[in-house]
Symmetry: C2
Subunit: 303 residues, 2 copies
């Protein structure tokens, strides 16, 4: 790891809460975002502008965006799957739109109700308008490390999508392990292959800890040159394809690992742990993040 700085995108308010069984109030969503910003996080996936019938947990997208703290240097992103969602996101005042491509045709049909080609066309149709609105355009390639329906996803499918996204001129491409099946060697190989076809474009990685490989994958991604990682406070998120499984890698556990590796994230571990404790109370659950239970090391008092 020659990287000495990593940017964390806090995805708890969107990918996290969307996959939790407990419904969370708009006020608590905003409180979570305030805590994230207070802990030093500067990129927040705040919500998703999808049809409220498809994802009822995100029906309050506009209300959430209306309540987030506007702090210099903090960027809010909204997930967008079509023109209607894009228009809503712009009206709600996001700084960044995150579009989704899917590396598996079956998953794309079942989850987005469109073909992979159609999902790419949506990005193509939106990008000029996003530029005109001075929005950052991020594209997340879902199921990049495996598909619950098709099994192994060929690296070539991911690389082809990344090349197409790069040609469209997106600002950032993310490789997402949607169902938490990836392993570190796969991460190293795929990041290298994607970097080759997307020169000059920021790469981000999105890992779930479903099978306990998430943090090892994060380290592998950094080793391959990735400097932007998604995570969620408390490790919330679950996995819709493995109901008892854990969710995203936890922001506080990732920061612990990076802090002790001399990699700066600009965040405050104590504040992240406090946010995780608070969120566990809101959700009425023991969250997967482990720093809350195990405690920091060395203990803050010993510093």
């Amino acid at each position: 790891m020659s990287v000495n700085q990593v940017e964390i995108v806090e995805v708890g308010p969107r990918d996290g809460l969307q996959n939790e069984a407990v419904a969370v109030s708009t006020a608590d969503k905003i409180a979570l975002i305030e805590r994230a910003v207070g802990a030093g996080l500067r990129r927040i996936e705040a919500t998703s502008f999808v049809h409220p019938k498809a994802v009822p947990q995100m029906a309050d997208a506009e209300a959430v965006m209306a309540g987030v703290p506007r702090v210099d240097g903090v960027s809010y992103s909204g997930l967008v799957l079509n023109r209607r969602g894009f228009d809503r996101a712009v009206a709600a005042g996001v700084d960044e739109v995150n579009c989704v491509l899917v590396a598996s045709e079956t998953f794309c049909q079942r989850n987005q109700r469109m073909s992979v080609g159609e999902s790419l066309q949506i990005v193509a149709d939106l990008i000029d308008d996003a530029r005109a609105e001075q929005l950052t355009v991020s594209v997340t390639i879902a199921t990049a490390f495996g598909c619950p329906f098709e099994g192994e996803v060929p690296a070539s499918a991911v690389v082809d999508l990344a090349r197409a996204a790069a040609e469209l001129g997106v600002d950032e491409i993310a490789l997402a392990d949607t169902i938490g099946v990836g392993v570190p060697m796969q991460v190293s190989g795929l990041v290298a292959a994607v970097a080759e076809v997307a020169p000059g474009i920021d790469l981000r990685c999105h890992f779930h800890n479903t099978r306990n490989t998430g943090y090892a994958n994060a380290v592998a991604a950094i080793g391959a040159g990735v400097t932007v990682l998604d995570s969620s406070i408390g490790g919330i998120g679950g996995c819709p394809f493995a109901p008892d499984a854990t969710g995203n890698i936890a922001t506080e556990d990732l920061v612990y690992l990076l802090d002790r590796s001399g990699i700066d994230t600009g965040t405050d571990l104590g504040a992240l742990i406090a946010a995780s404790d608070w969120l566990g109370g809101v959700l009425g659950a023991t969250l997967p993040g482990q720093l809350s239970r195990a405690g920091r090391f060395p203990p803050p008092a010993a510093n």
Copy 2:
């Protein structure tokens, strides 16, 4: 990772069960060992020959050893802290003794009730007799990545102990993250430093997943050339210094990661998951290992 084979030492019957709140019968301990052997594991830390008042969970060490399946190529190890324990281990028919050195003076005093120098002297006193009995001698350096009392442990303390153990002629040196605080960059650095002072001696690593760094540490160890790793079925073990925290890295989750990385462990993942499910029933708990909950990938039926 240029390694293509990793040997796993199953530590569930000793380090795992010793730190679980539920007492397990001798019959269930033997059943666990039978399942481990049945799943292809070839090195088992079967028990500990310590004073039954100090560790009541291991009071049945002789009975466990009397009941383990004797299979060609399977080696049973017993933890030994002094001459009395060594004599008991020999009489009980272990194939390997595992002695403990501690990199932190305070931890050594509090946990072993002796100084670091005295613990090294015990290895020195036993090694000729172990040779005479044709036993493998393994030495585990505890708190190698941090101490609950002293905080950061200087790498030089670990290196000095490793050098001393190497000069005594032990067969294998293990670096143990006793309280689960290590991070991958620390692992890479420490393994390289120890390898330098212990040329020709096998290195093993022992990681706990207390702060979600255990699997990343395992990958880092392999990257640094380590080919022997400890783990426990189900990830049992807990951490006496963080009561709510998880334990050892789980054998089945480690094997999942290695299998999908093309690294052979000689074990059967399905049998390991079945053993973990069974052990969860014995302990009446959801164990930290995640493969049981999340399922294999690709699903066996799709293979």
